[in-house]
Symmetry: C2
Subunit: 579 residues, 2 copies
């Protein structure tokens, strides 16, 4: 018999409680939560905001309709729950908590044998001045969203501003504009959306795919302050001098670990402010575990502590914490939570976005010398009537060819490739391993070779044989001959155009089918970049030129198609654009 207390009643805390109660039915388990709710699926909040879910209570019901409340946890799980109760202090020496009832202010002490801290995350507050008003809100708790939803439903919001272009900012952009028809401005201080998971080539595509009309994207744009004007409307003042009068502001600047209590009690915390845990979710304090959004875990790519705030990981961490407290082992091994490769997926309008590992930008900041390749494929064989485009980027370490990161986006299914990639990252695999990857192939679901096979081939071709894949981001600084190997009929049809190039570039049209015969038209000593619509022929052409003695040859990764998708609103090379 042990007395286990769990602080925090969301994903990680509830999973720990339920699992532990199943494993150790004689343990006394108490769950303490400061809000009135427990086991609330906050990942579903955007669906409530958008109106796709009608009632907040949907987010804490079981599939068979039972509300996951105090009574449910007591009857079904055998767990005692205290809601609207704060823990103000952890005394790790005495194994004692100081608690306070939020409803009546009563302060009381509780003792534990084992403690689990699952206090989750808190929203990052803006650094600029902003008023305390329900019209200027974070997007974190049910309370945050409720006011917006009611106002939207009453038609009180015609124009809204979202500050922050991360996951939640992008999800809300779609919810506000598509589902409520609200004219929406998204302001992001960085030069691109989703910059924590996408490099500029793929985010450039994603930004371009956001439908014009009711949406204005302001990248590389910072806010000076927000005020409420004389008629009660929020006004967003930008550092560039502009002002936006609006009906509602959501700031979605991300979250950080809510680890203040743990830190005050002496638990070791990391550089992101999260509680440091080992693979059994143990903190530095004796008999104290932690799980979920309040901890830092190992990044499986870098091997260093990192911060991820994903509901999927919280669930898995909670289970491992319970297994660890119960002393479970399989075949003599402790049950472990190894960390995360940072695998994400997101739906944004008609596109699916997924990624795993590091962006090239972040890898560079962490000191890796990186290589990368960029490509474009159909999600199914090109003859398939509904085949869609997919664009992707692979990042690897140049010296070792170790995989570092993957980014994919397109209207077709891409998540399957990121899932496999994430497993490869956790196994420290390299680019060559992509060539041997198998996938379930049928024309309805995929091409015979997957984007991962192709990215592996491209990277190996680049590193072993020197067939250089050029990023569209590098195109504007290219100087040499641009060899357009498309057929004349394609060039005339102009479904994709040549991008703007520096003045020194000589454009030469030689279809791939004539290249073998017209090599004499080309200058062997000048840098040459081959381009075509999708990149495949350009690669073949580059190989051919290298075989014929050309020294400095590359091909445009992702083809003119990706280039055009990024340049469509002429924003790619600029630091900021509006649309």
């Amino acid at each position: 018999m042990k007395n286990v207390i769990i602080i925090g009643g969301m994903a990680a805390g509830c999973k720990t409680a339920a699992r532990l109660s199943r494993l150790c039915p004689d343990y006394q388990i108490t769950l303490i939560e400061k809000s009135p709710f427990i086991s609330f699926s906050s990942c579903g909040l955007p669906l409530y905001a958008s109106g796709e879910i009608n009632d907040l209570s949907e987010l804490n019901k079981t599939p068979y309709g039972a509300v996951r409340d105090k009574k449910y946890f007591s009857q079904v799980k055998g767990v005692k729950v205290l809601t609207e109760t704060e823990v103000n202090e952890i005394n790790a020496d005495k194994k004692e908590l100081t608690c306070r009832s939020i409803q009546n202010g009563d302060v009381f002490k509780l003792n534990y044998d084992c403690l689990v801290i699952a206090t989750g995350s808190e929203t990052i507050k803006p650094g600029f001045p902003f008023p305390a008003s329900p019209l200027v809100s974070s997007f974190h708790s049910p309370a945050d969203v409720k006011y917006f939803r009611q106002s939207a439903q009453k038609g009180e919001i015609e124009k809204a501003v979202i500050i922050g272009g991360g996951f939640i900012g992008c999800e809300m952009l779609e919810a506000l504009s598509s589902l409520w028809g609200i004219e929406t401005v998204l302001i992001e201080s960085k030069a691109s959306l989703l910059s924590s998971v996408l490099d500029s080539e793929i985010s450039g595509y994603v930004e371009n795919e956001i439908p014009a009309g009711k949406i204005q994207l302001m990248l590389s744009t910072t806010v000076k302050k927000i005020e409420i004007n004389s008629i009660g409307a929020p006004v967003v003042y930008l550092d560039n001098g502009k002002e936006i009068i609006t009906d509602f502001v959501f700031y979605c600047l991300g979250v950080k670990p809510d680890a203040g209590l743990a830190k005050a009690s002496g638990a070791a915390c990391g550089m992101y402010g999260g509680i440091l845990v080992d693979e059994q979710m143990r903190t530095s304090l004796p008999d104290v575990w932690a799980a979920g959004d309040c901890v830092e875990i190992k990044n499986l790519v870098t091997g260093r502590y990192d911060y991820f705030s994903f509901g999927s990981l919280s669930n898995r961490m909670g289970r491992v914490a319970a297994d660890s407290i119960a002393g479970l082992s399989y075949g003599g091994n402790n049950i472990s939570f190894n960390g995360s490769a940072g695998s994400i997926s997101l739906k944004l309008f008609d596109n699916i976005i997924c990624a795993a590992g590091l962006t090239e930008a972040r890898a560079g900041r962490l000191g890796y010398e990186t290589g990368s390749v960029i490509g474009c494929w159909y999600d199914r064989p090109d003859y398939y009537p509904e085949a869609k485009n997919i664009f992707g980027k692979l990042v690897y370490e140049k010296r070792t060819l170790k995989l570092l990161g993957l980014q994919l986006s397109g209207e077709g299914e891409v998540t399957r490739y990121a899932d496999v990639f994430s497993e490869l990252l956790s196994q420290n695999k390299n680019v060559e391993d992509l060539m041997n990857l198998e996938h379930g192939y049928t024309p309805a679901h995929s091409s015979p070779l997957s984007p991962l096979n192709y990215l592996g081939y491209m990277a190996v071709n680049q590193e072993t044989d020197g067939v250089k894949n050029c990023s569209p981001a590098m195109l504007s600084s290219f100087n040499g001959s641009l060899i357009d190997v498309r057929e004349p009929v394609e060039v005339e049809a102009a479904t994709v155009d040549l991008p703007a190039l520096s003045s020194g570039v000589r454009i030469i049209q030689v279809p791939l089918s004539q290249l073998r015969l017209r090599l004499n038209e080309l200058d062997l000593n000048k840098p040459a970049m081959c381009v075509c619509e999708r990149g495949t022929r350009a690669y073949e052409a580059a190989r051919l030129l290298m075989n014929k003695g050309f020294k400095n040859v590359s091909y445009l990764g992702g083809g003119l198609l990706l280039c055009n998708k990024i340049n469509k609103f002429s924003g790619f090379m600029e630091k900021s654009y509006e649309r």
Copy 2:
């Protein structure tokens, strides 16, 4: 300079030729193909048959519209092509081929330095007598499909019979019934569809999901003979005495390696009749490689030679054959084709089916002592408005917990899980590794825990803690107490029903929320099986009963929902059924 000849101009042969020409531009490469076409995507034939693709030529065009013919291969790839040319003999000592032009009958000899055999597969002919008639056709070559397509288009086919319920049989079932509105009978000698990749629980679900109406499934049914009757219509005579008069018959009995030429020349072949190759695609003959559907490769689960006929593998094998001939290596290692975990995916009406590895039935035949677990999940969080059901089965080796196979089906996306699983199979992972799997989670695409996480948990719970997962296939022989832990309101609504049970079974209704209080109503010494709608509560109930001292407890995997889906047409326990 080497003189390389490739026999066979489909996926593997063309890939070898194109890649080798890029790697070794000074090699003389000749491709010999007996049909008039090369580089034809036969995986797209069902789309031509169904009418989704209008012109057969779509299947050998590049994405930019160029026809992949002789001229294309010569101009673009630098490869010489001989079509309508047969190779009648390989003299491996003299390195000499005897060839024959099909058009004019000329016989001539060709010498090679390196030879690649990529002769593909041939269709398996029925063992019963059948007439030589265009109305009784295999489904393998463009010619096979052309006659059907023309007749269907003219409205000449009202009723068709498909013999064989494998991949092609199932694809054609949908094409004929859904797209042409043809009344279709599918005859399969085995007790279930797709039995090479699905066990009876999952195929039972798949069969049930085939829409009623224009389709009749005849399982465990064998054909005696086919004849053409006096008015010119095919008649299918069954061994059970029935006759089916029809307008058209497709026999889809699978394919086997077309390796006769290789065998006659002394190349070692395996038990499936395919050419045996090593990881560089080398045959037993000096300087002779082989790739594609004509070879046997290593099954990554069993470690033994096996036969797979997948276009995806052919492409990858062709590339490795070229790399091997070119003498390429990366970091001192030969480029290798390791084998296959047998990963497949298929669309059948509204369902997606995917699998990897071995079925439990095949694993048993191969001598493995297997364990398995079956489950049912939503593809997305249950609160998600469009959440769909997924059903799945995991097969593993009982002694080592090594993963052996996965089968998933449902209306939601499942291919991503089979892809990852296939990679785990190739790494010899076990059920515990499923618990640590990461996936890109967002409510639009998945639940916080993936089916693979759940299957891993279920298997570990079963093997380590003895919480038994019972297959619906075992339900009819169960004897003991069936404890229905659903809430009374669910039982009354009867969205799912209790299945037929043996007469000795006592059914006890105790909702999970009351189970802790009503344990005294249950008999501790009788075998108990817990059931609920989807299996989750039944698992919790089983744990609870075990914790309270019950010795022989199990829960129904996949819940009553899967059970009902299989039993809906009362066909599950029977060997054969019609609908």
